[in-house]
């Protein structure tokens, strides 16, 4: 049976070096702890999303009754969820860092309800890619691309977000191609060289989502720092 290793979605991103916190001049220990907590949270979110979304993809090609439910959660390679987690942690930390470097904190719709909406739309895009029957792959890819861009427009609207999203999506797709080429896993019906053509869209949407979460988490730190300066 063709077990869909279809998505190692948003996994396989190159491991970037975590942003250095040298730019902060506040108390280093506090900062590091905060950074670690944020990274851990983002990692967990990434792992969770990877498992769930992978499950969605697996179901598409699996028969009605998989032999046992829980095994299929871990049906793909074991290293996919940790990779996703690491990647999302890196992205989630990278976004606020870049915002800070550019000197303009992201202000557009910075609240948790909006972030939740973003995550829901991201899951929905995955859902659509997995469950909706499209006439052909071009249509599917175009629809998903439009949805991804719409996601960015609705929830992000920052140039840095767009650029980073494109860059990471490109890198991730490249990495996946390489991995598939080396035979580490395979897609059921590749239509875009070795992978599915919608993969970049999913990567892009995932980057935007994780960036949104990361920025929202960074808000807390920002607030704390602000309060501290007020107190001082």
């Amino acid at each position: 049976m063709p077990r869909g290793n279809a998505t190692a979605s948003k996994a396989l991103r190159p491991e970037a070096v975590p942003p250095r916190q040298g730019s902060y001049n506040a108390a280093i220990a506090d900062q590091t702890a905060n950074l670690a907590i944020r990274g851990l949270l983002l990692f967990l979110i990434g792992v969770f999303l990877a498992l769930v979304l992978n499950l969605l993809q697996v179901q598409r090609n699996v028969t009605l009754f998989p032999p046992d439910g829980f095994a299929s959660i871990f049906s793909s390679a074991w290293w996919v969820p940790p990779c996703c987690g690491t990647a999302s942690a890196v992205i989630g930390l990278l976004y606020p860092c870049i915002d800070r470097l550019l000197g303009e904190p992201h202000k557009f719709k910075r609240e948790w309800s909006s972030v939740m909406r973003c995550v829901a739309v991201f899951v929905g895009i995955n859902h659509a890619s997995a469950k909706v029957d499209f006439a052909n792959n071009v249509q599917l890819s175009l629809t998903l691309a439009a949805l991804s861009i719409g996601l960015w427009w609705t929830f992000d609207r920052s140039c840095s977000g767009l650029g980073l999203g494109f860059a990471i999506a490109f890198l991730a797709t490249l990495t996946t191609q390489l991995l598939v080429y080396n035979g580490l896993f395979q897609y059921t019906s590749p239509d875009f060289l070795y992978v599915r053509s919608w993969l970049p869209c999913i990567f892009f949407a995932g980057v935007i989502t994780m960036g949104s979460i990361g920025r929202q988490l960074a808000m807390y730190e920002y607030k704390v720092v602000q309060e501290k300066t007020h107190q001082d």
């Binding site: 969770f48 498992l51 179901q59 439910g69 939740m116 829901a120 909706v132 629809t143």
Partner: protein, 1234 residues
């Protein structure tokens, strides 16, 4: 642009009028909306309820036609799914075989070995059956469902299930359909059992699959009761060929006739399977729902500034949900049947529609000016946001329309739903939510109005604390006036959150109900999803436990022939529910023939299989049955009778080895014990599991309890963890209020321990044991006046006093002349705070035993009459006086020497020598009103004297009394003095200037404080005794309080008396205590509470003199009492502060105080309690009993307890802290708490 502006104005105006309409007629509009919602949802009733159980449809065999792919004209009877050919036709050949007659030589294995062996010949027959007629030659090979590979995960089954060929299964598959393998198999049972899963399982097992009947029915076991082996040969056919099947049926029947078989063969059952939601499929669904709820939570959290947040959040959610329902309903109404999985797309629809508009509306309406009318507020709020709402909606519609042109059916459908949902959501927002919002805002304004009403009605603002009117007497209270107790419904007894949660759980028995409902739902789900399995399970349980089953066994052993005909044979099948009641007339036929019997239950034996049987069967070959159906053809009955000789011939040599023949051991217990032992083991396992689960549950509950309720509220003597210095209090969410460093202001100057304190908010008068009175500014902490005890100088009997005062005055003048005393002050920052340890003391009392120890211990042991300001002097004064008298003779030589060293103290304002007057005793009571100080002295000679507080000059005095004044009350222009002999004197302070011309002190900066009258220095003040009640009490009066035109006295003769202030007439004598009265509280609202030495607290109605409530709260005396609007706070000698509910008299909680500090507490506002401790004061949230903050008074102050605590108007606290006073300003953070 102009068009746009015009449009914008139009929209704005339209929304304005709409808002006016909604706010004007809320009820009709809500009703209208509800009707709309119900109407639109009505078509939903026709939709089938979702479920995962298979659905059946029965047709006749005779005129069966493959249903057309497109729905034909008569949809009447046919379900929707009955279209096109089925996945497969299932033809089962049901074989019943038995060895008959049963022979004594036979072993149990023989009961099924040779009957099972017949399957191979039967298989050959079926495989080789060829039907030929005019249309050609057909065989099974051509008709059957060809299958390919098994799923990769099922490699271990590869040998058992057919691959690359006809899907034809039978028990013969266990032996690869080879007779030789079967014959050489030494242990058939093990072969069958080795593929069974070990643990609990819900889906079909391999045994069920191959045998085609439920495992219990097969008869392939060593302790089978009727020794009839039942199995089926199951074949899946791709095409339905009537003639071939008919010929096969007739041939098999002919070859192996089944006598008395009357199975009906005219019905064919089509079973439709729905998409099953497995755990794996559920996880993404659950995730999306979690995200949805998080979204809703974070959205509704933003609703603010409204009366009921929860109500509005609910309204918002109702708006979105009902708009979705409406959209589905409308789409159904117009013929669009939803094909999408509703549950899956639902969260996305909610997210697309969103709650944003609702929130924007709320925010906009709330931010309109509050003083407008509700209607106008709504209208304005709506029109403010109208443009953005319309713009957003247009954008969303556009996006969705774009989605509609993707031409993907699923997305199109989604978009259609979303469009209708958006429109209906807009409709509901405009009509439903706006109206609800208007109602809510009206409610809020009403609530505000209600809150304002009492104040307008002339009630005094319920300001707790020692706030008393200054000048004008309170307006005559409207009679009949009783103690205003709020009704319980309006009292918000604000318990801690976790306690409230627990109370809520306890009150509604939520946990039990949830568990009950959960159990019911669980059972329902079980019944719903797996009816056949459960029923068979129950049936099997019943039949196993039936006593007849055991009784039948010896009978069986004796009966030589046809054991299958034994009643036990029917017992086996009797409890099983008949799935087709229409066929129940056939029941009687099952009993008639001996041997193998055919009953109606055999007709559709597949029903007893798990309902997952067929899906899992096909899923092995990667064929899904979801949303498809199979057709099950009537079974072909086949009966085999095997003679004992045949059975013996086919016996495997090892069969006899592991199962002894039955007749060698006739007792029923000698049966192979495998199964019973197994059930026993299962029973034990289940019991152990249950026990473990129970223990775990108990542990979990215990942990939960510890987590939720770490403190024991309402219990006596529980120590609240007082935080150490530096420990910040924080609430449940880890939030700790920012620490504004409260630095207490120390008022230093007294040489001895402070005895009396009096304050009117502006000024603070204190008197130490030495009789020195100091007046302080309560705002800045400056010492305004020092009134030394000059009278002692004149007193011929006491040289020591004279010396002391002389020294005192000298020291003061010394400092004055120094001029640079401020510098000394600054330099004195490091000197020890504990004034008692100051070096001046030892030299003063050079050869005397240290008095401080005596004084210290006496505080704790004395009868507690030390209410904060007035009466505390009673015992101390007497005691100290005695102490001084004792040591008098030896004092005088010592003090002839000059004082050895100057004493550092604050520079005093207006510190000047007084005009000498006649005093010779300690001050026992002190009162301060305006700038007059009234001091009651212990001596019999002089009782009342009035001081000008600012100038420190004596204005008048009265020396009429004989006995020492134990308590003073200064109200308006009257002074009441209680004396040691139980008499009560009323004085009137007369000023030669009319009251109206009084100057008022207090600048604009102190505007919040009531002005206090100021007597100018040239007024002549006279104090006259107006009336003296000689025998007010039989015993010394211990407490005296005055408020609201009443004077209340408490005495050691166990009674409380209430006097009217104007005419000093005794109104009531309140009896109810069984001990001396030690504490009394009365305030402007005429709440009277008294506490006694018996530890009882009584609440009285001042107007009728009746007792309202009576509680016993303390072990020992009640030392202090304060009432707030909702509770009574008492402290006792047991160093416990108890907080009582005022109306019910229930103790809410208690706070353990440090030893000796029991009586020191005060209430700052309705929700802030201050208690004194060991060198610190603590702030408590009165409603929750939580420690808010602890303020330390000194650097090394652990040893010194705070004994008295007075709360001033400006929320500063003055603590008697040894010989010093501390002024602590309550931080603003804490003030905001109420």
């Amino acid at each position: 642009m102009t068009v746009r502006e015009k449009l914008r104005q139009k929209i704005s105006a339209g929304f304005y009028w709409h808002g006016l309409l909604c706010a004007s007629y809320p009820v009709p509009i809500i009703l209208f909306t509800a009707v709309c919602i119900l109407t639109c949802c009505y078509p939903l009733l026709k939709l089938p309820l979702p479920g995962t159980g298979p659905v059946e449809f029965t047709t006749g065999v005779r005129d069966y036609m493959v249903p057309p792919q497109e729905p034909s004209g008569d949809p009447g009877e046919r379900p929707d799914w009955y279209r096109g050919p089925p996945v497969a036709y299932i033809q089962q050949v049901l074989v019943k075989a038995a060895v008959s007659p049963w022979d004594n030589r036979l072993v149990p294995v023989d009961a099924f070995r040779s009957p099972l062996g017949r399957v191979f010949s039967l298989l050959d027959e079926i495989r080789n059956h060829v039907h030929s007629d005019s249309s050609g030659v057909r065989s099974l090979e051509a008709l059957c469902l060809q299958v390919t590979d098994l799923l990769p995960g099922l490699r271990r089954m590869q040998a058992l299930l057919p691959e690359h060929g006809c899907l034809l299964v039978s028990p013969g598959n266990y032996w690869q359909n080879q007779r030789e393998l079967f014959d050489s198999d030494p242990d058939l049972l093990r072969t069958v059992q080795q593929y069974e899963p070990k643990g609990l399982h819900t889906s079909a097992t391999l045994k069920d699959l191959l045998f085609g009947v439920h495992g219990k029915q097969t008869g392939v076991s060593l302790n089978s009761r009727n020794r009839v082996v039942t199995y089926t040969i199951t074949m899946a056919l791709r095409h339905y060929d009537v003639r071939f099947l008919g010929s096969l049926r007739s041939r098999l029947k002919q070859l192996h006739p089944s006598a008395n078989c009357s199975l009906r063969e005219e019905h064919m059952v089509h079973v439709h399977f729905k998409e099953e939601i497995g755990v794996a499929e559920l996880i993404p669904l659950v995730t999306t729902y979690i995200i949805l709820f998080a979204y809703i939570y974070f959205s509704t959290r933003k609703i603010d500034m409204v009366k009921s947040k929860w109500g509005l959040a609910l309204a918002a959610v109702v708006t979105v949900l009902s708009s979705l329902l409406m959209s589905v309903g409308l789409c159904t109404l117009f013929g669009l049947t939803p094909t999408l999985n509703g549950g899956e797309i639902f969260p996305y629809l909610v997210v697309v529609i969103g709650l944003e508009n609702v929130l924007v509306l709320t925010k906009s309406v709330v931010s309109t000016p509050v003083d407008l009318e509700v209607k106008l507020r709504i209208a304005q709020g709506l029109s403010n946001e109208s443009w953005s709402i319309m713009k957003n909606m247009a954008t969303e519609l556009c996006i969705i329309l774009i989605g509609y042109f993707t031409l993907v059916p699923a997305i199109q459908e989604f978009c259609l739903f979303a469009v209708v949902g958006l429109v209906s959501d807009f409709f509901l927002q405009m009509l439903f939510f706006t109206t609800v919002l208007s109602i809510d805002i009206r409610r809020m304004e009403l609530a505000d109005l209600n809150r304002r009403l009492p104040a307008e009605a002339g009630m005094p603002p319920a300001k707790p604390g020692p706030l008393r009117p200054r000048e004008t007497p309170p307006p005559p209270r409207p009679s009949p006036h009783t103690i205003t107790l709020q009704t319980p419904a309006f009292r918000n007894l604000r318990l801690p959150k976790r306690l409230r949660v627990v109370y809520f759980l306890a009150r509604t028995r939520l946990a039990q109900r949830i568990i009950m409902a959960g159990t019911v739902i669980w059972i329902g789900i079980l019944l719903y999803t797996d009816p056949a399995g459960l029923r068979t399970y129950l049936a099997a349980q019943v039949s196993e436990q039936s006593p007849l089953g055991g009784a039948g066994l010896p009978h069986l052993a004796v009966a030589p022939v046809f054991p299958g005909g034994d009643p036990t044979g029917t017992l086996n099948v009797l409890p099983q529910a008949d799935p087709t009641p229409a066929l129940s007339e056939n029941l009687s036929q099952g009993h008639a023939p001996p041997g193998i019997s055919w009953g109606p239950e055999d007709e559709e034996g597949w029903r007893r299989l798990s309902y997952r049987h067929w899906p899992s069967f096909f899923s092995y070959y990667n064929i899904t049955l979801a949303k498809r159906y199979i057709s099950i053809l009537p079974v072909i009955p086949v009966t085999f009778h095997v003679t004992p000789r045949e059975a013996l011939e086919t016996r495997h040599p090892q069969d006899t080895r592991h199962a002894p023949p039955l007749q060698t051991d006739p007792s029923p217990n000698a049966l192979p014990h495998g199964a019973p032992v197994q059930t026993d083991l299962t029973l034990y396992k289940v019991a152990a599991l249950g026990l473990a689960a129970g223990v775990l549950l108990v542990l979990l509950l215990f942990c939960l309890y510890r987590l939720l309720c770490p403190r024991n509220y309402g219990q006596n003597g529980v120590q609240h963890g007082r935080r150490r210095r530096g420990d910040l209090p924080c609430d449940d969410y880890g939030y700790s209020p920012p620490v504004s460093e409260i630095s207490p202001l120390l008022l230093r100057g007294h040489n001895m321990d402070i005895e009396c304190l009096a304050s009117d908010g502006m000024l603070l008068a204190s008197c130490c044991l030495a009789g020195q009175i100091r007046v302080w500014d309560a705002q800045t902490g400056d010492c305004l006046t020092v009134i030394p005890n000059h009278g002692l100088r004149r007193c011929s009997s006491s040289g020591g006093w004279e010396h002391r005062d002389g020294w005192d005055a000298g020291a003061v003048t010394d400092l004055e002349t120094l001029g640079g005393a401020e510098g000394q002050d600054a330099g004195g920052a490091g000197y020890p705070v504990r004034r008692r340890a100051a070096p001046s003391r030892p030299t003063l009392f050079g050869d005397q035993p240290d008095l401080t120890a005596l004084i210290d211990t006496s505080f704790g042991q004395q009868p507690p009459s030390q209410a904060p300001s007035a009466s505390s002097g009673f015992d101390f004064g007497g005691l100290v006086e005695r102490a001084y008298l004792e040591h008098e003779p030896s004092v005088s030589p010592v003090f002839s020497a000059p004082p050895p060293q100057p004493v550092q103290r604050r520079r005093s304002l207006g510190d000047q020598p007084m005009a000498p007057t006649d005093w010779d005793s300690a001050v026992w009571a002190l009162e301060l009103r305006g700038n007059l100080i009234a001091a009651g002295r212990s001596s019999g000679k002089l009782e009342v004297c009035l001081w000008d507080a600012v100038e420190g000059s004596l204005r008048c005095s009265n020396e009429d009394g004989v006995s020492g004044i134990t308590a003073l009350a200064f109200l308006n222009n009257r002074i009441v003095a209680a004396r040691l002999n139980g008499s009560l004197d009323f004085f009137t302070v007369d000023i030669n200037k009319p009251l109206g011309l009084l100057q008022y002190r207090g600048g604009p900066g102190r505007g919040s404080m009531p002005p206090s009258p100021c007597y100018s220095s040239d007024d002549v003040i006279s104090c006259q005794l107006t009336r003296s009640v000689q025998c007010a009490h039989q015993k010394p009066i211990t407490v005296l309080r005055a408020a609201a035109g009443r004077v209340v006295t408490g005495s050691q003769d166990h009674t409380v008396r209430v006097y009217r202030l104007e005419d000093s007439c005794c109104l009531f004598t309140l009896q109810g205590h069984s001990g001396g009265i030690t504490a009394i509280y009365i305030d402007q609202t005429m709440v009277l509470a008294s506490g006694g030495q018996d530890g009882a607290i009584c609440l009285w109605d001042v107007l009728t003199g009746s007792r309202v409530s009576h509680v016993y709260g303390h072990r020992g005396d009640v030392t202090s009492l304060v009432c707030t609007t909702s509770c009574v706070i008492s402290s006792g000698l047991d160093d416990l502060i108890c907080i009582w509910d005022r109306s019910t008299g229930i103790k809410l909680y208690s706070i353990q105080q440090v030893l000796g500090c029991g009586a020191s507490f005060g209430v700052i506002s309705d929700s802030l309690l201050v208690t004194g401790g060991q060198g610190c004061v603590s702030f408590w949230d009165l409603n929750f009993g939580d420690l808010l903050q602890t303020v330390y008074l000194g650097a090394s102050s652990e040893g010194q307890g705070v004994r008295q605590l007075v709360v001033l108007d400006n929320a500063a606290i003055v603590c008697d802290f040894g010989s010093e006073l501390s002024l602590v300003y309550v931080p603003s953070v804490l003030e905001k708490l109420d």
